[in-house]
């Protein structure tokens, strides 16, 4: 899995690059992404060909007349794009959101799972 630059048509609206952890084990890849403020309904996960796009809108309840005095999060949107490699099974991605953390599990295709090759000695 490698990262690709955002495509020009997607870069029209500003977005923050969320921090991620990517861990690979024998049966697949687990990805964690920090998306604070994104409700489950505001999360947009897409796989097109071999491109995985994670996108989310921040929805905060703000009181009327709020004036910001200090803002470290200035763009209410996250976006990050990854290129999936062939051995990953994009059709079986499982996603869950918990307290603003997205957890994605991308399994490897059956044929790509590690197999121990028996060596016969005759």
């Amino acid at each position: 899995m490698t990262q690709t630059a955002n495509k020009p048509d997607e870069g029209r609206r500003d977005a923050v690059l969320p921090p991620v952890d990517v861990i690979e084990d024998a049966t697949g890849i687990t990805l964690f992404a920090d998306l604070p403020g994104v409700a489950k309904e505001q999360l947009n996960l897409r796989v097109e060909a071999d491109t995985l796009t994670i996108e989310g809108e921040v929805g905060l309840t703000t009181p009327e007349g709020l004036q910001a005095s200090h803002a470290e999060v200035q763009v209410p949107r996250y976006r990050r794009v990854f290129t999936l490699s062939k051995e990953l099974d994009a059709g079986k991605i499982a996603a869950e959101m918990n307290h603003g953390v997205l957890k994605l599990r991308i399994p490897k295709a059956e044929h790509a799972q590690p197999r121990k090759v028996q060596i016969r000695v005759s």
């Binding site: 921090p19 690979e24 470290e72």
Partner: protein
Amino acid sequence: MIYRSLFPRDIYSEFDRLQRDLQQAFDASPSIRGFGRGGYPALNVGGTAQSVEIYAFAPGLDPEKIDVNIDRGVLTIEGERASVLPTDEKSAVHINERFAGRFRRVVSLPDDADPSAVSAEYRDGVLHLSIRRRESALPRRIEIK
């Protein structure tokens, strides 16, 4: 500086250094408690006529384990976020950017904030604190008899 020219081709570390230099040059109010940006959790602070509003972008926490204290006008948010990285040797970590460990962020509140009237809500990984301003500090029209 000699060490910069020792590894002239590491362009990414050069970018990293450039970013830090720029951050230092442009950050209008470098705080003694570290840079204002890039910490965990990220903070947005604002206010209305009636209240001071603080949003801490702190995903992946157990709400029971977030400590919020106000002491003499200084608000402290602290806690700990567990690492998700595997400890076994069969897994490989390809990217590790998310914060893990203990954190503590401090905000000094305006004088009219009332520490006894605070509401705190944790939703979708954002801790929202709303601190009412004291009644006596609210703008008031004075009647002339």
